[in-house]
Symmetry: C2
């Protein structure tokens, strides 16, 4: 599984410590890729062992020292190779879809509540993405390279959330 590669991309964008990565993954990146700090620490240690990364400790004032990782030459090679490989798209894997499909085997009113809660969540995410979009990329036509790609991935998040909102809204209307 390419948590390795997601971390390589994140570290290629900017070197960071384990906890900083955990924060990034629960913010901007994390809307597209989740990971706990455990997983991140373990994976960083392994990639360091394998020579994909180099690390050094950084002393801080008023905080414990942190271990900052950056991508080594070997890591850049691994990343470039992986980027050129075909990506197999895996399906939704969504609890909610299973619940919607199975609603007639339980209390339908309760399932509709679950769907309403999920819809509110997706609305909130969509609003947050739009906020990030206007804050970070007010003028998309001027972007290039890394920033353009980041912008386009955020754009994908918006399209996905739009689709979720449309879907759940349709579901609720059909059961109104």
């Amino acid at each position: 599984m390419p948590l390795d590669h997601a971390l390589l991309v994140a570290l290629a964008e900017r070197p960071a410590s384990g906890l900083e990565l955990a924060h990034r993954f629960s913010r901007s990146i994390g809307y597209f890729w989740s990971a706990t700090h455990q997983q991140i620490y373990r994976t960083l240690a392994r990639m360091d062992d394998d020579g994909w990364l180099v690390s050094h400790t950084v002393e801080q004032q008023g905080k414990p020292a942190k271990r900052v990782y950056e991508v080594a030459d070997e890591g850049h090679r691994v990343l470039a190779t992986w980027l050129a490989e075909p990506a197999d798209p895996h399906p939704l894997r969504s609890d909610l879809a299973v619940k919607m499909r199975g609603a007639s085997f339980g209390d339908r009113a309760q399932v509709l509540d679950v769907v309403r809660t999920a819809l509110a969540e997706h609305h909130a995410r969509l609003a947050h993405y739009r906020y990030l979009m206007s804050r970070d990329y007010p003028d998309p036509s001027t972007l290039s390279g890394l920033e353009r790609d980041q912008h386009l991935v955020l754009r994908g998040g918006i399209l996905m959330e739009d689709a979720w909102v449309a879907w759940l809204t349709e579901y609720l209307e059909a059961h109104a």
Copy 2:
């Protein structure tokens, strides 16, 4: 992870053997939820042990006997309870999104090829979903209960694939 519950829904719709479920999961259901036969066999055995299912062997002509599972009372209780619980939506977990974001750290032309391949795949899925839609639900307004839910989930698949196609198309156009 709710492979358990996905199987309960599938078996509540219609009792089946392990292999039949594996086939269903690689066809209609599998577009929204993938599972290998291994996983299915193991999970069925555990659910049977736990009393969620009852099973009996069915002799066949010209084929080995199969073990058909159906949902027991306990399984129906578990399913109804689970259906009423809130569902936490987890994010994309998409290799492709990571590759698009990291494209500037590799050979961009190759990444664009990867994206083109994925786009073709999503186009194909979309066409297949539309085919299933017109074949199985030619007149959606007349549906009710289970069939209506199945229809709405397929509809969700179409909306998701639409979003993917739009996203990848935008990405390719931005890098044209």
